[in-house]
Amino acid sequence: MEEKIIAAIIVSAIAFFSIYAFTPVLIKFLQKRNITVKDVNKKGNIMIPRPGGISILLGIVASEITLYLFFPISEILAIIITSILGFSVGIIDDKKTMGGWFKPLALAFCAAPILLLGAYDSNLDFPLFGSVKIPSLYLALVVFMIPIMGNTINSIDVLNGIASGVTTIASFALAVSLFILQNYEIGISCLCLGFASLAFYKYHKFPSKIFPGDSGAVMFGATYGVIAIVGQVEVIAAVAILPAVINSFLFLSSVKKIVEHREIKNPVKHTDDFKLKSTDENHAPITLVRLLIAKKPLSEKQICNEVLKLTTFSGVLAVITAFMMGVKI
């Protein structure tokens, strides 16, 4: 146990401080080369460097490789490779805007290391009722999990700090759940993701100094997804990230097809004091943000705080679910 505690402290520090120290360097580098995008929710022509995914990649991979040196197990290797592949898919989308189907299909291939390394168990665990063995169906679940998580985090990356904030809260909730279930190695691995996203949140929160881009957001989602699979906590992981899942569900149930989010009508518009309010367009999709501002306009910061509170609530539900895993009725 002592070795696990030492490993947890070391890898958490590597994940946090590498991103904390490297991100300002990356911001300067991107600004110097004019690799920036407009922050559409700010008055004036505010340009923000993007993609911050490079910094996130550094933090997650450095900490996970260190963890692998402590515990050389195939599950951690699968996390490292899938995270790098998730980043690669995102950076392609950052450089060149791809069609709506590109990311889901490319991310499905990112699940290959999990299957090839055999870093999964085909039992799907549910709280209170036990588990169900679904060998063939579970393979499909593995292939679907990475695209779903990647796109779920990516589609909630609409306002300053939401993607990194949601990932931070959900990762810590998932790490606590993994410790409750005594899956310590993967729990520590999840801590790496939590501390990496926390360090990035420092620069991504309102007002953002850098955007994660598709590379950062997709990598957050892919890493979260692979941890859920190798840690056998798929249901708990889905619960912890429910606000983002709801956002994707609301979007898909409104649009009724898979499209790149840049292709759809903007569901929000700005008031004179630059608060966000719901659009009058009937065909614009209902998203989580639109639902939050349906009654009255809110500032970007207020909306971010609301989303993070919702994620904290679902994080608590996830931890309760983890406790319920040990109870059978």
């Binding site: 009722f129 036990g130 429910l242 639902l291 939050l292 609301e306």
Partner: protein, 74 residues
């Protein structure tokens, strides 16, 4: 407003727990008589699971529409 969205998350959580329970207790152990091809049994299980997912999505869509309409009206 926030209360309704918190309720939405809570309903989604309960539906996940109930859905999982139904799959494990009823759908998982479901078998037809021994002479029937296992592929047919599995196909029936998939159809039942898809039906449960349809009910789940239908319920959530109704809740979503109710929340959004009630917010726009107020």
């Amino acid at each position: 407003m926030a209360i309704k969205i918190y309720s939405f998350i809570f309903v989604m959580w309960i539906l996940m727990l109930i859905g999982g329970g139904l799959v494990i207790v009823f759908v998982g152990p479901f078998t037809l008589s021994s002479g029937i091809d296992p592929i047919i049994t599995s196909s029936i299980k998939v159809i039942i699971a898809l039906f449960l997912i349809f009910i789940w999505l239908f319920t959530l869509t109704k809740v979503k529409n109710w929340i959004f309409k009630s917010q726009v009206k107020s």
